[in-house]
Amino acid sequence: MTAAVDAVMRALFAPGLLASGPVRTAAAVGGGAAVVCAIVGVFTVLRGEAFAGHALADVSSAGGSLSFLLGASPLLGFLGMSALAAAGLEAAGVRRAQGRDLATGVVLGAGLGLAALFLYFDATRTSAGGAAVAVMFGSMFAIPASTAPVAAAVGLVALGATAWLYRPLLLSSVSPDLAAARGVRLGATSLAHAVVLALAVALAAVTVGAILATALLVGPAATGIRLARRPAGAFAAAAGIGLGATWAGIGLAYDSAGWTPAHPWPVSFFVVALIMAVHLAVRGRAGRPAPALPGDGGEG
């Protein structure tokens, strides 16, 4: 079995792939981030909070760029800012969809403004010229090995909290009214999901970058939801797609070193392209456009 996998890997990817330290770190942190994002992302998509997830990622870029300026760990920077933004959005406590979108948009704009400032200082005061690209679009082969244990801890906390809250989260995502009647505390559940979302987004930001974090969070989750009829199936499919796209993306990027002169292509490009390709394939297979009016129970 292992030999077979080995043979396939050898045939597909350039030699030395799995011997390289940066590649191992990228595979570990990126794979973990993909799984956490897929699981958390299913709830985020079901709750209709994809835009809030995107906003957290954008705001986290301010933290990431600040940590470049201070020479601190980017993961902690991303984490601090996304958690702050999540707390802020929850504190605003806007329940109506429109009001929530407005609040989210305002927070997103403020975060990106801060990121612009810090990245400007990064570019002018330090020699870290690549900071903007690394923060916004990720730089997976540059993740320091020391990030792996912290990322693992963050991921385990996110997955553990999601498992603990699985049923209340699911029921309140399906229908807040049903959940409230069943005795679920909606406010606490929503806050917990926001915090877990902040953790997932920080992991995504440190791997595929703050701007592309949404792709890792929403893409596999949306595809998994389309594929599966039951919750467990959606989580499994989403995690499989996220993990597969990330690892394959790392392999392709490693391979791409020989495609064009000088540098390999960015991992993030391959990951996002693969996620998109799988999503389109699944939609195409379903052979029908998305239903026009979600929830229109219909008279059937």
């Binding site: 699985y166 929830g295 129970g297």
Partner: protein
């Protein structure tokens, strides 16, 4: 065998009270919506909660559930204490007025019913034969076996209604509240749901309080009625409430109750000022046909 805090049906035999509402008041947006509503409901009764749009049906049901704080009065459920902020899940089944289920939800009908059993619990649901049996039994009780494994968001309105009733009843609460469950159903499906609820009340001894703006689809099965208007209620056996004098009192002007071909028409005398925000003038709680 049963979990603590779970009131099962028939706590005290015939005539045991499943619900007692006393002088209930509710204020929404600074406006009084319920102004001293009192009624009681025994185990196994099927009670219609009738009122026009804005009469306060949803408000009354949500207040009974504890989802909304009353401005005064008490709600007593089963043999339990008067409702305040309750700890733990209430022993009341609830089917809200509008449950929008996305067609792409990765959730089968049986998954939604299972969430009615333990959706408030922490931790991952472990597969258990007992849990599965309870869900299967409930799906069978509402006639939903045939579509139990389909995505719940892609079922028809009537099928979804059955699944939601199963979700609400799977814990065997002594009291089931349904908010306008018939409003999006054709007459045939409405009659089926009403018959199903009548059976559940009779066989499982569930007390059922079902809100509707039209009394007619309920007439065959309903044995109690609560009429809601102007923040007040008139309640009791159907024959004692759906009468000209009682409803005239409630509405505050003269109304006549006509029985035509087994249907009830509540007709407001010309010039009567119907407290009906929807404005369909002279027929309240009946159909103009």
């Amino acid at each position: 065998m049963r979990e603590p805090g779970l009131q099962t049906s028939d706590p005290g035999g015939e005539g045991a009270l499943a619900l007692e509402v006393e002088d209930l008041r509710a204020v929404l947006g600074g406006r009084p919506v319920l102004n001293g509503v009192s009624f009681a409901l025994e185990a196994g009764r099927f009670c219609g909660l009738i009122g026009s749009n804005g009469a306060g049906k949803t408000t009354l049901l949500r207040t009974i559930l504890g989802l909304q704080a009353p401005a005064g009065g008490t709600v007593r459920i089963g043999a339990g204490p008067a409702a305040g902020p309750r700890r733990g899940p209430p022993a009341v089944g609830y089917v809200p007025q509008r449950v929008l289920l996305d067609p792409d939800l990765p959730l089968r009908a049986r998954d939604l019913v299972a969430l009615g059993l333990d959706g408030h619990r922490a931790g991952l649901p472990l597969p258990s034969p007992a849990r599965r049996r309870q869900v299967d039994e409930m799906l069978a009780a509402v006639g939903a076996e045939a579509f139990a494994d389909q995505r719940v968001g892609r079922l028809s309105g009537g099928q979804q209604q059955r699944v939601l009733i199963a979700h609400a009843l799977v814990r065997r609460p002594p009291l089931l509240l349904l908010d306008e469950p018939l409003s999006s159903l054709d007459p045939g499906s409405a009659a089926e749901i009403v018959a199903l609820l009548g059976r559940l009340a009779a066989v499982q001894r569930v007390a059922i309080l079902l809100s509707a703006h039209d009394i007619n689809p309920l007439l065959g099965e309903m044995d109690r009625v609560v009429y809601l208007a102007r923040g007040r209620a008139a309640s009791g056996p159907v024959a004692e409430v759906v009468r000209g004098d009682v409803l005239s009192d409630l509405y505050g002007h003269h109304v006549d109750v006509l029985r035509v071909h087994g249907r009830v028409l509540v007709v407001v005398a010309p010039g009567g000022d119907v407290p009906d925000p929807a404005g369909h003038a002279t027929v309240v709680g009946g159909r103009e046909a």
